[in-house]
């Protein structure tokens, strides 16, 4: 907390006072006391943050005990917890739950960044071509260097994702009408074009099955040793948090950023790299999970505003919670079969998107 001056006695160092003729606000109204640290949006933030963390923890525990394998709370209570159960927990359940948390958190942050970079609320990596380009990159590298390491493949896919996103940004800069709804439209179409290219290339090279795995988010194949790449996503989200102020300003547009001394082009480039890497990471390890990056930031922004430093952690936690919850639902809905998280997010995400659109809240841009 910062020591506040009473507004009435604030030193006139910076600016002269208003003349009496002007209907100036009462100098000692309570609002003035209620300085920055205690502002409603911040209180909201702290509440949401702790609530989110708690929910996420509960979901995580539930996720540990849902599955086909013989591992439930009952085994725990009955005391039949043996080495085999422990192994199942360590090799499958914990990695799977962790993967959902990591993927959800980083995808939601990537969506937020994408929205700031294009100054538009209705975009996210999978609706502007980033994710699709990453999948195309995986198809291409698998054709030309099938034996490359997974990290090398991921980086190659990320470079494709970067190109796809750049193409999108170049296209929307060239739009004459700056309508905030035209931007996501162009993104969706571009994503469709890249997707059909990937489909075509995969089809010609007998890679449709692999492409299916990259374009359909699914945690059922996650085991220890197969998801660790996703931790990089968390590190990238942390970088986004570190540079959150700059990203927020970039979201306000180039003019304001430059005036305040931000290297706008550099911060956009950083954002692009983060978004592309996160898209490629998730495509490689779990496959595309649509709409997380769109829905979560929009809902969080509605409650807490756009101030990046305050909302990046909340966005990450809510994204993690949403994906984890969808994965749990996918495991339960048609037990003992599983429904992939991508399929569930496709329905839930597009429905939420429609609701967001029909609310008609003025968008950025």
């Amino acid at each position: 907390m910062v020591e506040r001056h009473h507004a009435g006695e604030s030193p006139t160092a910076a600016l002269p006072r208003e003349p009496a003729a002007r209907a100036a606000p009462e100098p000692d109204r309570p609002v003035a006391r209620d300085g920055h640290p205690g502002s409603p949006s911040r209180r909201n933030g702290q509440k949401l943050l702790s609530l989110g963390l708690l929910t996420l923890a509960v979901l995580f525990v539930i996720s540990l005990f849902v599955g086909v394998g013989d591992l439930s709370v009952r085994t725990l209570l009955a005391g039949t917890w043996d080495a085999e159960t422990m192994r199942l927990m360590l090799v499958s359940r914990i990695p799977r739950s962790a993967a959902a948390v990591l993927a959800g958190a980083s995808l939601a942050v990537a969506g937020l960044l994408m929205q700031m970079l294009s100054s538009n609320r209705f975009v996210e990596p999978s609706t502007v071509g980033t994710t699709e380009a990453a999948a195309l990159g995986m198809v291409v590298i698998t054709i030309f260097a099938p034996d490359a390491s997974i990290l090398a493949k991921m980086l190659f896919a990320a470079s494709f994702a970067l190109l796809g996103t750049l193409l999108f940004l170049v296209l929307i800069r060239r739009l004459r009408s700056k309508s905030s709804l035209l931007v996501p439209l162009v993104g969706l179409i571009l994503a469709g074009i890249i997707e059909s290219t990937a489909y075509f290339v995969a089809y010609r090279n007998d890679l449709l099955q692999s492409l299916g795995a990259w374009s359909r988010g699914d945690f059922s194949m996650i085991l220890q040793g197969r998801y660790e790449l996703l931790w990089i996503g968390l590190a990238l989200a942390a970088i986004a948090l570190f540079a959150a102020d700059r990203f927020t300003l970039a979201g306000l547009g180039r003019d304001i950023s430059v005036t305040l001394g931000i290297a706008y082009e550099r911060i956009v480039a950083l954002g692009l790299v983060i978004v592309s890497l996160i898209a490629a990471l998730t495509v490689v390890t779990v496959g595309e999970i649509p709409f997380v990056g769109l829905v979560v930031p929009n809902l969080v922004t509605m409650a807490m505003g756009d101030n990046g430093r305050r909302i990046v952690p909340v966005v990450a936690i809510c994204g993690a919670g949403l994906v984890l919850a969808c994965d749990i639902i996918g495991r339960l809905v048609r037990f003992p079969y599983e429904i992939s998280v991508g399929a569930i997010m496709g329905v839930a995400g597009s429905l939420l998107f429609l609701i967001l659109l029909s609310r008609g809240r003025p968008a950025r841009g």
Binding site: R176, L181, L182, L185, G192, Y203, R334, V347, S350, L354
Partner: protein, 341 residues
């Protein structure tokens, strides 16, 4: 400076349009239609005859249903796109972009989901198709009636809502398909991608009949469409009941979409592609000409494209993907070029 340059610039542009005019090199719309008809006929002939060796009867029997399906589908998509564009008052929409195709896929899935796989497989496919089409008309009227009926005049919102509706229908259909048992999944598996090789020939006859009826009704409505393209308000003051026209047309468009999706599957951008080309070639003032041109272009693209891909590149099932690719690029080009508001 700019103030002075603007009017001068505008004038020269208009002057240039006047002088160089379309009269010099551009054929009249009738000549253009004749040219398109010849091209369409030629591509059909080539498709039927190229590479035939030996048993003609067998080959013709194999290719004729495919050709008929392509003509029916091409015409259905062209007709539904041109009419929907006039209803919505712009040239950037198409039923498939607005999610009609996906809605039909969802209805197909729902039918199997609700009836159960066994029943769905036992039912006569024609009866099932008619039932699906009926549901489709009902849904289209209730869902899109409001959306296109003039409540939303914000074109961008309309488009985006349509596109996302399509995504929602598709995701829901694919979600439901996963809930079904593997058998049912097999029944529906092909629904998501367009294919001209696995044409549903069992539905071909009923499809052709339906398309014929719909075309006849639209033909009678063409004069009203010409008036409607002047704008909803003008049309109303000229005595065209635009609300009624919208309802009838939406129902008919739903039938057209059902036919094309049931026969070959969804094609998102094809309608926009052929309608745009038609407007470029013959203009959009007279709907009879625009629709005819769009249909002919559709047939040329489908039949010609399939012939070229099959015979020259040996790609047998890629036509749908190729169309989507170029159609998408055309869509973005239109948006960038017009910067439409």
């Amino acid at each position: 400076m700019a103030d002075v340059a603007k009017p001068a610039n505008g004038e020269t542009l208009r002057d240039r349009e006047h002088r160089s005019g379309r009269r010099v090199a551009w054929p009249t719309s009738r000549q253009m239609l004749a040219l398109l008809a010849i091209l369409a006929l030629a591509s059909c002939l080539v498709f039927m005859t190229v590479g035939v060796r030996g048993n003609w009867g067998f080959v013709l029997q194999l290719r004729a249903p495919k050709l008929l399906a392509m003509i029916v589908v091409g015409h259905a998509i062209a007709l539904s796109t041109v009419t929907l564009q006039t209803l919505a008052g712009n040239r950037i929409l198409a039923p498939s972009i607005m999610g009609f195709d996906s809605l039909y896929i969802l209805i197909q899935t729902l039918m199997v989901f609700l009836a159960g796989t066994a029943l769905a497989m036992a039912i006569d496919p024609i009866a099932l198709f008619i039932a699906e089409t009926a549901v489709m008309v009902l849904f289209a009227l209730t869902l899109y009636g409001k959306l296109l009926g003039g409540a939303t005049r914000d074109l961008h919102r309309l488009l985006l809502v349509g596109v996302i509706l399509g995504v929602f229908f598709r995701s829901t259909a694919s979600f439901l398909q996963r809930l079904l048992d593997p058998n049912a999944f097999l029944v529906l598996q092909d629904t998501f991608y367009a294919s001209f090789n696995t044409v549903r020939s069992d539905l071909l006859l009923i499809a052709a009949v339906l398309i014929g009826i719909v075309t006849a009704i639209f033909w009678r409505l063409v004069p009203q469409f010409d008036v409607l393209s002047l704008g909803r308000d003008t049309a109303t003051s000229l005595g065209v009941d635009s609300t009624r026209l919208t309802r009838i047309s939406l129902g008919l468009i739903a039938v057209l979409v059902s036919v094309s999706v049931a026969l070959v599957g969804p094609l998102t951008f094809f309608g926009l592609l052929v309608a745009s080309l038609a407007v470029v070639l013959v203009g959009s003032r007279r709907h009879a000409e625009t629709i005819l041109a769009a249909s002919l272009i559709a047939v040329i693209c489908l039949v010609g494209g399939q012939t070229v891909l099959e015979r020259v590149f040996q790609f047998d099932t890629a036509l749908g993907i190729v169309i989507e690719f170029f159609g998408g690029i055309a869509f973005i080009a239109i948006i960038l070029k017009r910067g439409f508001t």
